[in-house]
Structures are given as C-alpha cells and as structure tokens.
Amino acid sequence: MEQTPLPSTPEQVSHHSPPPLRDRLAELALAGAVVILGIIVIWETRGIRVTPAYSKVGPRVIPYLVGTGLIVVGLWLAVEVLEGRTATGAGDAEDADPTLPTDWRCVGGLAVALLVYLVLIERAGFVIASALLFFGSAFAMGSRRIIRDAAAGILLAIAVYEIFTRGLGLRLPAGVLTGLL
C-alpha cells in the first residue's frame, strides 16, 4: 500500500498495442450513443415553442448548438477509435481495480438495493427503506457480517430520521412505522 498508484495518463494508454476488438466495439458503441443523443437533442429542439415575444436569440438556438456539438464529438471519437486510439485503463479510484472484468453480480446487487429503496421509501417509510438500502448494498459489495451491517443500517436510518423530522421539521415518510417513531 505504500506506493502511490499511478493513474494512467493518456500517453501511456495510446501507446498500448492495438486494443482488443471487444474494447474497440464498445468504444464505437459509445461514439454512436453520443451521436444519437445529439440527434435526439436536435429532434426535440424542433418541438420547442418559439414565442412571439421580443427576443433576438430564442429558446432553440443554444439547444441546436449543443445537439450539433454532440454529433461532432461523437464522430470525432469514432475517428479516434478507428485510428486505434482507445482508452482502456479507466478510473483512478483506489478501491477499484481497472484490470478486473466488470463484476455484474455486484453492480446488479446494488441496482436491486437502490430499486427496493425507490419502491419502499413512500410505502414502507424512510427508516425501513434506508436500513434495507444500507444492508443490501453492503451485502452486494461482499460484506458478510450480517448482524453488524443490519444493526448499523437500522441505527443510521433511525438517527437520520429523528434528526431531520424532529430537529428540522423536515417531512420524511414514516410509512408503516407511523406512530411508532
């Protein structure tokens, strides 16, 4: 842990030997997505109503510029990828190891925890939803100290709820625990 991790500089990246085909296809897909976003922006801009009110530059001008810009940088990226310049080693987060393949089970677990939170926050209430989110995401990220995580999640959720609803008079849904908290 003593050596400072060296974030990959672009020079290093571009000097790699030709990147694998899969990466290049993914990068091309990204370029395509950017171009498509640009087209959507321009398409939607055509539907913005221009008022008869006094204005030299209307509400459509800047969106058109942004949409055009997106298409240009999307194509630019495509050219770079076809020339063999892709970035591989992304991110300099110390907790992440960029050489690892994507761990979809872990990401999927987090996504489930987040969706459960979204569904439950107004139905079951803030405390239950938050405690489940805490526990679920810790579990998804590989923690197996179930009792500790559950206790921490419940304590955190109750503490936050009490501080904000009582201390500040903020409204957070009490849900099924209405009357108990």
Binding site: A53, Y54, R148, A152, L155, E162, I163, R166, G167, R171
Partner: protein, 362 residues
C-alpha cells in the same frame, strides 16, 4: 468492532446537533379552542391538520402557510398543524398531488394563488383548479411599477409615452416569464393599445436580481410586488410610478385596507395601501392583485368544507392574523367558499387569454 464504535460515536455527535434549544423556544400551545362558528356542526379537525405549500421553503406560499400554521394552532384549534412542501413547476406538481393522492382527505389543505392560475396554463398542467374545493382567499399584494431615482421618467405618463412610441426600447425587469409581473405588463400593453408580443419584458430569476438590474439602471422600469421594493422606494432609490390596486380598493381603504383595527404599534402600521397612485387613476385601466388563498382536495363532504371555511374565517378574525398581515405588508383580501370559487374562474378567464397572447399558453 472499532468501526462500529466509531459509527456510534458519530451518531451520538449528530444527535447532539439536534436543535433542542430552538425547539424548546417554540411557542407553547396556549390555545383552548374557541367556540366554533355556527356553520360547523362537528368537531374539526379531528387529527393533525396538514397544509401543503406547493413551493420550496422560504417563498411566499411557504411563508403564508407557516404563518397560518402558527395562528391556527395557537389561537383557533387544539390540533397540531403541519406544513409540508411539494415544490415544482409553479405549484402544479403540488396541485397534481393534491388532486390524485389527497382526494377525499379531510385533514389537508393547499396554499395557492394567482401564480398557480398562470402556471397551470403555461405548464399545460393536466390537473386544474376546477378539480379542487375552494376554501378561502386570504391575502393580496399589489404590484408596483418603479424606475430608478435618476430615471428620466417622472410619471407613468412619461413612461407610457415612450412605451407606445417604441415598445421594444422600453425594457421591463421583473420575475419569471408568465408570472404576475409579466402578466401585468401584458395587461398594461393591451390597455394602452400596444401589441403584447412587442413588449421587451426581461425575466429575472429571483427578486434580488431584478432589483439589482433596476437600481443599476440596466432596465427602463421594474415591476414587482410592492413589498419587494418598499424599502428602496422609501429610501428614495426607486421612484414608484403606479400600483396595480383597483380604484375601489384604493378609495375606500387608505389607512387600514379593511383590517380590523390598527395594531399596537410594534412594527410597521397595518398593511396600509402604499401612497402611490393606481394605474386606473392614471388612465391605464388595469388592476391586478397577487392574491393567495387556500383550497382543499376534491371529494370533500359539504359538512367538512363548511368546517374548513368556518375555521379559516375564525382565523382571519383574530388579532394575531391581522398582526401577520401588518408585519409582511399584505392586504387583507378575505373571500370564502363559493364566492372564492367564482373569483377563481373569473381570474382564469382574465389571465389565460393574456398568457395566450404573450405566447406563453396555448
């Protein structure tokens, strides 16, 4: 386990931050319920009363709702009153929530006002005020038209002369597009025969920015609620050319504006009408009140509706409410029940056409 202890310590620290002191300073619930007015046969409300402010904390609707909360729970009812905020889209997000989630909910009311009438049209809200149960109109603020002290315009006539000659050259600074300030300029244009689409109205986000632009001479004239400019007008930094009150209001009510009695002279005197001539007095036949009121969700029984009206009527008659009006410089603009419902539809018929003409609504 070290980390658990740490977490515990952190939580304890956070708990310490609870504003125990602020809470304990909150007003003690002094109020024994006063005798309910005749129209309400039952005890109302039977549980915590909720008032929705369909805007972020700190704005006009939120402030009004929180003042109503204080007066109701201190002087009128023996239940708690809670205010909650549902911000977004000129109040139409809150309106949609009131109509869909709160239908038939007899313990909930919503703050609203002229701005919502406009926002429903400009945002093409699928939910309208026809679906809610009108309770009462409570306050209003009149709009004022100002110029900086060093402006060439001495009177409204001066300003209108240039406006009629070259509408695009007169820049009006005010609040958001389609808001009360914009509507007033549109109505004025109509009244003096200027094409509303030709006006050069410059919307600013937030009162402060508009005020700065007016003081700095960036715009020809400014439009806003009188309260927002009051101090600058009294200090002589801005010249008030006209207010948007109707002639009848202006004539009848110079000192007290219908308020029950002058308050015991703590703060500013009772919401007196500002000493500025009205638009109508100066030949521009426009009046506009930036009013606020309360509505209830749809599907409320007549009985409960009567009780809500009685409760608000009772609140309106308290000295505490009159003090609130005085403190904020709001005019008393009370109108309850069906009459308020009629007023709502009249306002709709007046405001939407001008918004359509300004190109802001379909």
């Amino acid at each position: 386990m070290r980390s658990l202890r740490l977490l515990g310590a952190l939580i304890a620290m956070a708990l310490l931050a609870v504003p125990v002191f602020a809470r304990s300073a909150a007003p003690v619930m002094a109020a024994a319920p006063l005798a309910q007015a005749g129209e309400c046969p039952t005890d109302y409300p039977t549980e915590t009363l909720e008032i929705m402010a369909p805007a972020a904390p700190g704005g006009g609707w939120d402030t009004t709702a929180r003042e109503i909360q204080q007066v109701l729970q201190n002087e009128v009812i023996d239940q708690n009153v809670e205010v909650f905020n549902v911000a977004g889209a000129g109040g139409t997000v809150g309106l949609a929530q009131l109509v869909s989630d709160n239908a038939g909910d007899e313990q909930t009311m919503m703050m609203m006002g002229l701005v919502m009438v406009g926002a429903i049209a400009t945002n093409q809200s699928p939910v309208t005020l026809e679906q809610v149960t009108p309770i009462a109109r409570l306050t209003t603020e009149y709009e004022v038209i100002v110029v900086p002290a060093n402006s060439e315009y001495q009177t409204l006539d001066d300003l209108m002369e240039d406006f009629k000659a070259n509408p695009g050259a007169v820049t009006w600074g005010g609040g958001s597009a389609g808001g009360t300030d914009h509507i007033l300029v549109g109505l004025m244009a109509q009244a003096v025969g200027v094409d509303p689409t030709a006006i050069n109205y410059v919307p600013f986000s937030g009162g402060g920015e508009a005020l700065a632009a007016i003081l700095g001479g960036q715009v020809s004239a400014g439009v806003s609620g009188y309260g927002e400019f009051q101090d600058q007008i009294e200090a002589g930094e801005l010249r008030a050319l006209a207010i948007s009150a109707g002639q009848d209001v202006a004539a009848g009510a110079t000192p007290g504006a219908g308020a029950a009695s002058p308050t015991t002279g703590s703060a500013t005197p009772v919401a007196a009408l500002p000493p500025v001539p009205t638009l109508q007095e100066q030949g521009v036949d426009v009046e506009l009140a930036n009013w606020r009121g309360l509505v209830a969700p749809p599907e409320i029984s007549d009985e409960v509706r009567q009780c809500m009206i009685a409760m608000i009527d009772q609140m309106h008659q308290t000295q505490a409410w009159q003090d609130v009006l005085a403190r904020y410089g709001w005019q008393d603009f009370f109108l309850a029940g069906d009459e308020f419902g009629e007023y709502l539809s009249e306002e709709r018929d007046r405001v939407i056409p001008i918004l359509q003409e300004l190109g802001l609504a379909e």
